[in-house]
Amino acid sequence: MTGLRLFAHGCLYQYRALFNWATPLGYASSKLLVPVFQVVFFVQLGVFATGGGDPTYFAIGNAMQVTALNGIFGVVMTVGNERQFGTLPLLLASPASRLATFLGRSAFHVVDGIISVVIAFAVAQLLFGLRLAHADLPLLAASVVAVALSTCGIGLLLGSCSLVSRDILLVANLVYFLFLVVAGVNFPVTRLPGALQVVSRGLPMSRGIAAARLAVAGAPASRALPLLGQELLVGAAYAAAGYLLFRVLEGWARRGGLQEAF
């Protein structure tokens, strides 16, 4: 099987496997209720807490942050479930390209994450009158794609960690909520203590959200594009670290026969 075919099949089947066990109700619950209500809750909280602040600020931040549902939880489960469901030894025994297999774990989640953001933006527009009149829509779309890619990058790293940890969902939850605090979702990163600002700079998402806010405000692309470049670099660094870790763990598991050991 060629690398490209393997990649395409991997993308499709792993996504179907993740949701195939679910009823339409379960899928809709994950796909619609979670992102929609996250946006509604934080916009209401933000507007009330700031005494009638601009809902657009909170709507953009939270709509972008829902990509982490796919990028973190989706990707981590897709990689981690191989061990959970006993298919990891089969995967490791196959001669398939590891890079295609590994990246195939995340590709569909990039697309799915983008769809989640579109749904979240639509809800924000419908309920809170998100102002997009001056928005640079192609730039906004580029920001959404960049954040979806970069969060999948960190998801791949965490997914690799899930091959040796049984508490990876705890870590995934931590990272998801860490984004809410440090990524400039509900308030500017500059309002955080210095140490948390450093953490924010080392994680994906904050630059992408900042770029999305610039795009919605109709700022020149020259201000947002460097942020998007940095966002993609950070995501690529996490994905590369995840792949490296995956290969190291694979070698370790092969030598010790520990593919399914917790």
Binding site: S29, F37, A49, L180
Partner: protein, 260 residues
């Protein structure tokens, strides 16, 4: 074995199991502190420090709900996955007694979550506690716990019918923050949402809780709010009794309780 002993032993064993489960610490301590922290930053940034109680108490309520929802949602599912649900159904002790014990252990953790957030608030914002009207606050807190207990007893048998319990629990988490008025008053929500919030019993007891903490725009009407909260709780308990009966009857007839 008496029903009370079953409840007590289940409570103890389940509490030990939950304490040993790492994600419990996330639900009990970290998630409430994150929400409380976001609330504190937003309320103080907006120059509305007078409303910080919404962040301090609200974070704890978020933790309480998260623990209640997810544990109740998985209590029966976990027995199914462990292959012990058939034995539980087959023994003469009512399944509801076992679930009550499990839910009681969840509420203990939820209470710890609320206490942790209040303790943090007490250290950093002691002035918020000076304006608390202690007796209504304690009564409202107790009624809130009772309402959560009753909701758990509805969720547990309801989720036992589906294998997508996890996805449903995920979807139900945030709507309760809105309908319950955990971190801001329900009154700011759209008019069509208000009746829905009224059907959610904790929204009345949480309203009373915040009024007792000095967060009420109007004169508190505790008897009405407590009464409506209790009425909702009673409805949940009646609904739960029906659901448990239905679950047991259908399981015994079909013999497929292990395969939702």
């Amino acid at each position: 074995m008496s029903v009370w002993r079953v409840i007590r032993r289940t409570w103890l064993i389940q509490l030990r199991l939950r304490v040993a489960f790492p994600i419990s610490y996330f639900q009990v301590l970290l998630q409430p502190l994150v929400f409380g922290g976001i609330g504190l930053l937003l309320y103080s940034a907006g120059g509305r420090s007078a409303h910080l109680a919404f962040a301090v108490i609200g974070g704890g309520l978020v933790g309480l709900w998260s623990v209640t929802l997810f544990n109740a949602g998985f209590d029966i599912q976990a027995e199914r996955w462990a292959g012990t649900l058939e034995q539980l159904m087959g023994c003469p002790t009512p399944l509801a007694a076992v679930i009550v014990g499990k839910i009681a252990s969840s509420l203990c953790l939820g209470l710890a979550s609320l206490a942790a957030n209040l303790a943090v608030g007490w250290v950093f914002f002691p002035h918020l506690f000076h304006r608390i009207d202690a007796i209504p606050f304690a009564i409202s807190g107790a009624l809130t716990l009772l309402a959560f207990f009753a909701i758990s007893l509805v969720i547990a048998p309801l989720f036992a019918w589906t294998r997508t319990a996890g996805a449903l629990a995920n979807g139900m988490e945030t709507p309760a923050y809105l309908l319950g008025g955990f971190m801001f008053p329900v009154a700011i929500l759209a008019g069509w949402v208000q009746p829905l919030a009224g059907l959610f019993a904790p929204s009345w007891t949480v309203r009373a809780l915040y009024a007792a903490a000095g967060e009420s725009a109007s004169r508190p009407d505790y008897p009405l709010w407590w009464g409506l909260g209790l009425a909702g709780t009673a409805v949940y308990l009646a609904l739960s009794a029906g659901l448990f009966h239905l679950l047991e009857t259908r399981a015994r007839r079909s013999g497929r309780i292990g395969f939702a």
